[in-house]
Amino acid sequence: MIGAASLMLALTSAAGAQAIFNPKDWPEGKLGPGAKAWSVERDKLPPFTPPRTQDGQPDLQGRWGGTWSGDDIELIPEFLDVTTPPWESWVADPADGKLPYKDWALAERNAHREGLGREVWSTDPSKHLYYDPQAFCMKSVPRYSQRGYELVQTKDTVIMMLNWGHIYRVIPLDNRPRPAGDVRLWMGTARGHFEGDTLVIETTNLNGKMWLDSAGNFIGPNAKVTERIRLVAPNFLDYSATIDDPETFTRPFTLRAPQRRQRAADAKDPYAAESWEHACHEGNREHEQQILQLGFKWYLPPAAPAK
């Protein structure tokens, strides 16, 4: 499980970035900075117009460090372990930082959480329901964005390449027709466009098999995810994902996080700006079989109750 500690590492290694929103400098005893703290810091930034690519698009290219937590995205109220210190919610809207689940879905989320067997790190298979699906080296939208990625723009596509698990997205900007609705993909199908300086990406055709975090928060397979990405300072992206999933939630909600530019190559280590192979599944087979032996089931999205 990768939590806040590794994300702090990712952030603090971003030498040369503007000295804002650095969790390392966050006051002792305060919750780690999440959506609310980022919104406050972002609003203090002077107005910024991003440079343009040769095709006239806002230039968002570069290697971006992931930020938002891999653990509970709502709130980590207390110290769980070294990877999960107390942390503010990454939910920017609603303002209380809680996901606006329908009753059935909240019960489902709570069952996911209980079934992790985390309270006592149970080895008793009867206590186990699902393991975090990310443990199988998969990702989805928007959870991919908690990891760092390289963003590349061409005239008609935006490409995102994660080092983690060699996950990538190719996002057409020409609003081409999507595959039929019953085509279900881990990463969905994405269509992008620019609204002023903001890259807007709409994703559907998801399969609902990935959680939002490792604490059982989830969205349904019919969710539409609208991401907005804007360069708000030379080295910071403001990232948000609005999830529209009326089967699961009482209203749309929005996750928000900064993404910090990773350092460029330096003379000491000319390889620092390269992305080297992260073969995930290949070294994970023993772990996968342990999860199976511990009685965890394969997570399939729960059916929303009939209206």
Partner: protein, 273 residues
């Protein structure tokens, strides 16, 4: 020098592979440029110059895919259930195994169901990933060429930033790839492979001393020639070559989708229990 039937028809093209250095009218040196031999187009293809990107590099971006049967067997092969017959992509059709290595190749083929790394959904290695029957997309940057493969969401990042291969040996599934342009040909030099990948479903394999040089040469707006040289002194008696054609996918609305091999396999395993 490769001798393929195609090259015999390309006399005028072949002449471009010679550099004439004339010191005086009576003293000319003719230098053969061996690298240019790879740039020959198949018969009936007129010479082609690809468009250039703003940075001056030949533009080979787009979605590509092979149409051969090398995923099943790099060499000439007949059909069996589920396996289409096909002409191979090995130049001369012979893979020069050392005797003990040939025995291992045959054992691999016999026990393919359990031994083939593809059966465990592992990353395919190089050049096997090119021959998988799935599309892949090339995205160029100033200092690297990215190749995104639909199969197992594989990424290859071919660095052209002046860095040599890092100090090794490193066991990587897809190796360490460094590229450069020779005219309109993208030349990719890859080392740092592990021993666990194969070349195809017929059990052809390599060791960790594998050294692969790939040449991607556009020969029309819709075709690239894909020439590969394989070296591995642990397994082969000499270097050998592959030559194939990559086809541009121009289908309406074509885009990379997904083939998440290990996710399907794990779901199958977990839900059958």
């Amino acid at each position: 020098m490769m001798t393929t039937p195609a090259s015999r028809h390309r006399g005028t093209e072949a002449q471009r592979n010679f550099l004439y250095l004339c010191v005086s009218a009576s003293l000319c040196l003719v230098i053969v440029l061996p690298a240019a031999a790879h740039a020959q187009a198949p018969a009936n293809m007129p010479p082609y110059t690809p468009p250039k990107l703003a940075n001056g590099q030949p533009d080979i971006q787009g979605i590509w895919q092979v149409l051969d049967t090398a995923a099943w067997d790099l060499q000439d092969h007949g059909a069996t259930l589920g396996v289409p017959a096909g002409r191979g992509v090995v130049v001369g059709n012979e893979i020069p195994y050392k005797p003990e290595a040939l025995a291992k190749k045959k054992e691999n083929a016999a026990q393919r169901a359990t031994l083939d790394p593809e059966s465990k959904c592992y990353l395919s290695g190089v050049p096997r990933i090119t021959f998988m029957p799935f599309p892949f997309q090339i995205v160029q940057q100033n200092d690297k060429v990215n190749v995104l493969y639909e199969y197992n969401h594989t990424i290859r990042q071919i660095y052209m930033n002046g860095n040599p291969h890092p100090e090794g040996h490193i066991d990587w599934w897809m190796g360490d790839s460094r590229g450069h342009w020779e005219g309109n040909t993208l030349v990719v030099d890859s080392v740092d492979f592990g021993e666990e990948t194969w070349f195809d479903r017929a059990g052809n394999y390599h060791s960790d001393e594998l050294h692969v040089v790939e040449r991607y040469t556009p020969i029309s707006p819709y075709h690239m020639r894909y020439d590969v040289t394989i070296e591995d002194p642990k397994v082969f008696t000499r270097p050998w070559s592959l030559s194939a054609i990559l086809y541009r996918r121009i289908d309406a609305n074509v885009e990379l989708l997904e083939y998440e091999c290990y996710a399907y396999q794990l779901e199958d395993q977990f839900t059958k229990k």
